[in-house]
């Protein structure tokens, strides 16, 4: 990997095609206010407020253990699956607090989809069944599933590779293909927001490239939040970047700005140290 200087990353961020805001955006974005998170007594995330406008890609960067995954999982209420997990603050989806009492959490997760670090297709299902599994899981009725199947695989950049083998099992694909299958699966329930937790960290450069293309394509119609360890990737795909850091205590969000600015003119000294590779 080439050595990264802030200015080279900034130019990557500047030189990529500027995104034209889509015309049929789903939803009006996502916002968090004063989010804290705990595991048992351990305070791991402190007071994170961020605004994810519809149709933008936001990268969450920072050294490992600073709470990026935890924060991401508060955005679709996956956080609460850990038995000791606790949370404070608000997460607003279309202005509604997703943690409000009486909320049907399955509806929230339909609107806020997620792609995990490790590709996790359902091994008991075929490729086609995997893509459409969300409909069955959420008991959604859909009349024309063939079209949906094709369009989801198309948008995930996988259609041409699998169109003749939809009946094969998901496990027969390569890692990169499996991850794109998981993206297609997340798209089938038509989420407004897609959360991605280091989706490329287990993949080869070729697959990474395909997924980055997919992200740019998807951002035309939805809001994307992506955790990444790879600052090149943040520069390539994101419109905004938020830098997280933990100094041993709970993780905080140090700085957020348009991606080119985070890499060219960060305000905070700690951000500058991190993006220039002085630590982390």
């Amino acid at each position: 990997m080439q050595t990264t200087t802030p200015s080279s990353l900034a130019s990557v961020a500047n030189n990529r095609d500027q995104r034209v805001p889509g015309t049929n955006l789903l939803g009006t974005g996502l916002e968090t206010r004063g989010v804290h998170a705990w595991f048992g007594k351990k305070h791991v995330l402190s007071d994170v407020s961020l605004d994810f406008a519809a149709g933008t890609v936001t990268a969450l960067i920072g050294p490992s253990g600073c709470g990026k995954s935890t924060y991401l999982r508060t955005l679709n209420r996956m956080h609460e699956f850990i038995p000791t997990a606790a949370l404070a603050g608000e997460v607003l989806l279309d202005g509604q607090d997703i943690y409000a009492p009486g909320t049907d959490v399955t509806k929230i997760r339909l609107k806020v989809g997620m792609v995990f670090q490790k590709p996790n297709p359902f091994p008991s299902m075929t490729i086609g069944e995997n893509v459409l599994s969300g409909l069955k899981l959420a008991q959604l009725k859909k009349s024309n599933t063939d079209d949906l199947l094709e369009s989801c695989l198309m948008r995930a950049g996988l259609w041409s590779e699998v169109k003749d083998r939809l009946g094969e099992h998901g496990g027969s694909l390569s890692g990169g293909q499996q991850q794109r299958l998981c993206i297609a699966r997340a798209l089938a329930v038509q989420p407004q927001v897609l959360l991605m937790d280091e989706p490329c960290s287990a993949l080869d450069p070729g697959s990474t490239f395909r997924i980055e293309e997919t992200i740019s394509e998807l951002a035309k119609s939805m809001t994307i939040v992506i955790v990444t360890h790879n600052m090149q990737q943040a520069a390539r795909v994101s419109d905004y970047t938020a830098f997280f850091l933990s100094d041993g205590g709970p993780g905080v969000m140090v700085e957020t700005a348009p991606t080119s600015r985070i890499f060219s003119a960060p305000v905070d000294k700690r951000t500058e140290d991190y993006v220039t590779g002085r630590f982390g």
Binding site: K107, N120, A138, R185
Partner: protein, 330 residues
């Protein structure tokens, strides 16, 4: 290009790859092999013993040994056998019926309790329930028999009457005379209760191992708990549940004491599960063993051999089922 030139040269035969294990490894290997072989040897010896003792009965009584339903040995004054009519047909039918009832009642209940324990029970209630169920799996079957006889029979008899009243038109639930006590139905229910703990235990352990990333993938797609269980847990656990059910079935088919206490042993083939007549091979052996003469003992060994073969067949069937349906969700 030497590389290209070399390609036309003869392709060598693959080398044999060997390794010299350390002494400690060799010793351990021997110990483990002995252990592994021990159960196979014991199984073989039992089969051999049963065949040696029982095989001549099978050749003498021929096919009627498994189709007829009589158990008569008439001995003369000198103790010589004048006439014998031995057949375990009714007992085989009884074994099959009570095991079938046990499985069809017990397995669904066991799977539901395993799901409850894995995905719904919390905290200390969960811990207590799990250890209670494991304890129940180890109870002597005589206790189930006693409980079935003294406590359970009365209510089961009532259910049997209800079933007969409303579903009596199904031949299965019809009775030739209103005798509902000690029927295969009641024996099957007692067996069901007896096999629930072991089947629950095994299913629970399998469900517990469901890969977390699949569970999370399902939830992240908006799955409810129920749909997550159906899409992820059941496909993953199916093979294990079949295995647990087969262990339960093995126990139900071979069960002696519990069945002996709650079932009326009658030498007459009876397919009507609610009627108080039946038997099973294992309890026949128990019933007759004490008073049997040498020839009869051999006949009981032959019955044991049939039960042995039946058990092997059931296990083979389980393997087929697991291979067919179990591997898919892994």
């Amino acid at each position: 290009m030497t590389l290209l030139e070399n390609q036309s040269a003869a392709i060598p035969a693959p080398r044999e790859i060997t390794t010299k294990p350390r002494l400690s490894d060799q010793i351990f290997r021997a110990i483990v092999t002995l252990g592994g072989m021990a159960s196979l040897v014991i199984l073989g010896l039992i089969a051999l013993f049963l065949s040696l003792k029982g095989f001549h009965i099978l050749t003498e009584e021929k096919f009627s040994f498994i189709t007829e339903s009589r158990w008569e040995v008439i001995t003369g004054d000198t103790g010589n056998i004048e006439e014998s009519n031995l057949g375990i047909g009714a007992m085989l039918v009884g074994t099959f019926l009570s095991a079938l009832i046990a499985i069809s009642v017990g397995v669904p209940i066991a799977v539901l309790s395993a799901l409850y324990l894995t995905f719904y029970a919390r905290g200390s209630a969960k811990k207590i329930l799990i250890s209670l169920i494991d304890l129940m799996a180890a109870f002597p079957s005589l206790l189930y028999g006693f409980w079935g006889f003294f406590v359970f029979m009365a209510s089961a008899e009532y259910w049997a009457k209800l079933l007969n009243k409303y579903l009596g038109f199904v031949p299965f639930f019809d009775v030739p005379a209103p005798i509902f006590e000690r029927s295969p139905f009641i024996a099957g229910l007692v067996l069901a209760i007896m096999i629930i703990p072991i089947t629950t235990s095994i299913s629970r352990e399998i469900f517990d191992q469901t890969p977390l990333d699949r569970v999370q993938a399902a939830y992240a797609l908006g799955a409810s708990k129920l749909s997550m269980i159906r899409a992820v847990v059941i496909p993953y656990g199916r093979g294990g549940v079949i295995g647990g059910a087969m262990l339960g079935l093995g126990r139900a088919m071979g069960e002696t004491v519990a069945v002996y206490t709650v079932l009326n042993i009658v030498y007459q083939i009876n397919w009507q599960v609610l009627f108080g007549a039946g038997g099973n091979v294992a309890s026949l052996i128990l019933l007759k063993f004490g008073e049997a003469g040498p020839y009869e003992v051999d006949a009981l060994m032959a019955a044991g051999l049939i039960l042995f073969i039946l058990t092997l067949l059931v296990n083979a069937l389980a393997d087929v089922l697991i291979n067919r349906f179990g591997k898919k969700g892994r």
